[in-house]
Amino acid sequence: MKEHMKYQPEDIEALLAEKSYRELYAEEKKFVLEHLASQEEYERMRETLLSIRGGVGGDKEDLHPGEHVRERLMKEFEEKKRRGAIIWWNGLLIGMRDTLRFDLPIVRYGVAVVAIVIGSFIWLSRSGNDKGNEMLIAGKSDSVNVPQQIVPQPVIVKNDSVEPNTVPAKSITNENIQPKKIIAKKKQGNANDANVLNPSADTSSRQILATNNSADTRHDTDLAPKIMLSNSQDVNTANTFTMNATSAVTTNVTSVTCFSSTNGSATVTSNGGTTYDYSWNMNGATNDGTPAVRSRNLGQDVNALKLFYELK
């Protein structure tokens, strides 16, 4: 490799600034003449360079912005300073950036982990609050006049052959019944209270859970399965009825059972395969729309449901 190959054409600038053509080494002259036409061109460029260096720097003192620019800027700065929160925020951002060294992967991962932990903590706290609220409501109800009872209830066997959306109920049979504790929440009120909703209603004990497709089970959240009681049933005479799924996000109602005129239960399977058991107790009917029955949510992915029903 030739010695002069260590030069690049742009390196001539350095030579121009330092040496006249006569002062160049033979090797440098050779290099220069590879990129410039002649010694004259080299000298002309050198003269231009030196003139520029001397000339451009010569009138620096003559150019300054007006004093009013400085005054205006200082005024603007003070105005912004008055809006202290922004300054504080800028300082915080810069401080965090300088302190945390986000360029290091370990710092980035660390921040991500901290964010996840904080997020989980908040989420769990909220879940805890919801459960706490439920317990609080239950406790409040109990404290009125009906003590909380632990009642053995049957577990309703899932009926796998049931069609989606329109699922006939299945009666409980003795062999299906297994002991299980379900808290049946009762609220203040009685059947007569329900009549306030509809003064013309029969005041007898015949309680209708639903008229055709009108009585619905309302849900706490959009995530919860929506189900509807589709059949008018005289719960005093019939011990089964049908609940239809009305929400695309859920559900197959696999079985519904009414045990008596005042209580019953249902099992609902979500599309995800999660099974939810519902129970209700009509003794808890009130006229203010308060849920008489709180469902038992056995799943993990939806909040507890509240079953409402309409009285006639």
Binding site: E13, R44, M74, K80, N90
Partner: protein, 200 residues
């Protein structure tokens, strides 16, 4: 009392910038005093020797520092960051003035031709040379002009220019070489062996 408290004037730009972000007006004033004149010259050269425009640009640039101090990239030297912002402002201005550019170039060429006619064969003083140089600089493309001014007016190192323009040092050197070659051809009358003028 803190006996070792540094004075603002001796503090580094980066440290002053940190103070500015925390609302220190005096630090801002020191930064302004350090760089306003140099930036004004730079804008003046880059924006067709228009003093009003140069003043506006200096003000706009420092306004950015006031309102977005966090945009300062702490990985870079303050001065190169500052000039890269200035450079981008000029590029934006060129874009917005694109329609007017041919007219301006035409004017510059005519002006140069006229001056050639008037001064050819006569001895020209430094002021005349600078005037011609300024005209020639206006005819250069934006990247060549910026490189040239940062190198010969602001005395930036090759590395600093590369940082401002976000290009390689080789590119900077190359631009300087070809700009110099171009200028020496256009300012030939000032060369020592030409029949034209000799710079005093």
């Amino acid at each position: 009392m803190n006996l070792f408290r540094p004075t603002y004037e001796t503090e580094k730009d980066e440290q002053l910038m940190k103070r500015v972000a925390h609302g220190d007006g005096k630090a801002f004033g020191v930064l302004y005093d350090r760089y306003s004149s140099a930036l004004f010259r730079y804008f003046h050269r880059m924006l067709w020797q228009n003093k009003e425009k140069a003043e506006d640009f200096v003000q706009d640039l420092f306004m950015k520092i006031i309102h977005k101090p966090e945009s300062f990239d702490r990985e870079r030297k303050f001065i190169t960051w500052l000039y890269s912002v200035a450079h981008n402002m000029c590029k934006n201005e060129y874009r917005s003035q694109e329609v007017r550019k041919p007219v301006r170039e035409e004017k510059a060429v005519y002006a140069l031709a006229g001056e050639h006619g008037d001064s050819f064969g006569t001895r020209v003083d430094r002021k005349m040379f600078m005037k011609k140089l300024a005209t020639e600089l206006d005819l250069l493309d934006e990247s060549q002009r910026t490189t040239f001014l940062l190198r010969y007016e602001e005395n930036f190192s090759i590395k600093e220019i590369a940082d401002v323009l976000e290009c390689s040092e080789g590119t900077v050197k190359s631009r300087l070489f070809y700009t110099l070659k171009k200028l020496s051809g256009r300012l030939e009358e000032f060369a020592p062996d030409s029949k034209g003028v000799k710079l005093s």
